[in-house]
Symmetry: C2
Subunit: 142 residues, 2 copies
């Protein structure tokens, strides 16, 4: 199958473009895209565990450990042991973390809005349905 006919190439290209644009968007806040995504989940679910963060951000726990290490070094998050489960660390935004997130979120949301505005509601629905089928086709009995 020739290179250009592969659906994977189209998916890869869009994701790549998205990453580049988002990177430029969150950069002024001093964040990477992965850090922004982590802070986004953290903002909606304070005190969540690293393992749960990893699942929601779709990365491995090891990857999340790396991201959290950098965020903690920059004092954007704080991690404290769970009340009951001593093995679990609860992670929360610091004041600086929330501030950085809000700066980044304003710009990142604008990117998402620009993307969404390209399509009608009907088209968005179609696109999401097709993408969901891609995931299904790829994941089923992989």
């Amino acid at each position: 199958m020739p290179f250009e006919e592969r659906l994977g190439g189209d998916i890869k290209r869009v994701e790549h473009d998205l990453m580049l644009v988002k990177q430029q968007a969150v950069r002024p806040a001093g964040l990477t895209v992965a850090q922004y995504a982590t802070l986004l989940v953290l903002n909606e679910h304070p005190g969540v565990s690293a393992a749960e963060l990893a699942r929601r951000c779709r990365v491995t726990p090891q990857t999340m450990t790396t991201i959290l290490r950098n965020l903690e070094a920059a004092d954007l998050i704080a991690r404290v042991p769970h009340e009951v489960h001593r093995n679990v660390l609860e992670t929360r935004l610091t004041e600086a973390g929330r501030a950085a997130f809000e700066v980044a979120d304003e710009r990142a949301s604008a990117v998402e809005r620009r993307l969404a505005d390209e399509f009608s509601a009907e088209e968005r629905k179609t696109l999401r349905a097709l993408l969901a089928r891609c995931s299904k086709a790829l994941t089923d009995q992989a």
Copy 2:
């Protein structure tokens, strides 16, 4: 904008699924996805420069340098100075490189085929058109 409503999340998820499945596909050949993609272009365009490879694989020249370093260390490619332009290095597959590529390509193509078979010709056309508009919306006046 809530996390789940973002189109970027859907795109990210599909790309992520694709990478995982492809990684599993090319792994038995001893290749990474990036290496496989590089060998794929190299197979279709022997003697191409690293800069051109970078453009076709949609990575920076620096990233391609890293990939080529690993491929050369594994004797899967050979690089020789260009006849005229001494500044340019021509890259070609070695015998081992071609062998590894063919093993990987058989399995990777199967993944692409599985993905393509999920859709009718009409649906594929629609999906690609929508994805192209995503790229356009993201890239224009970024």
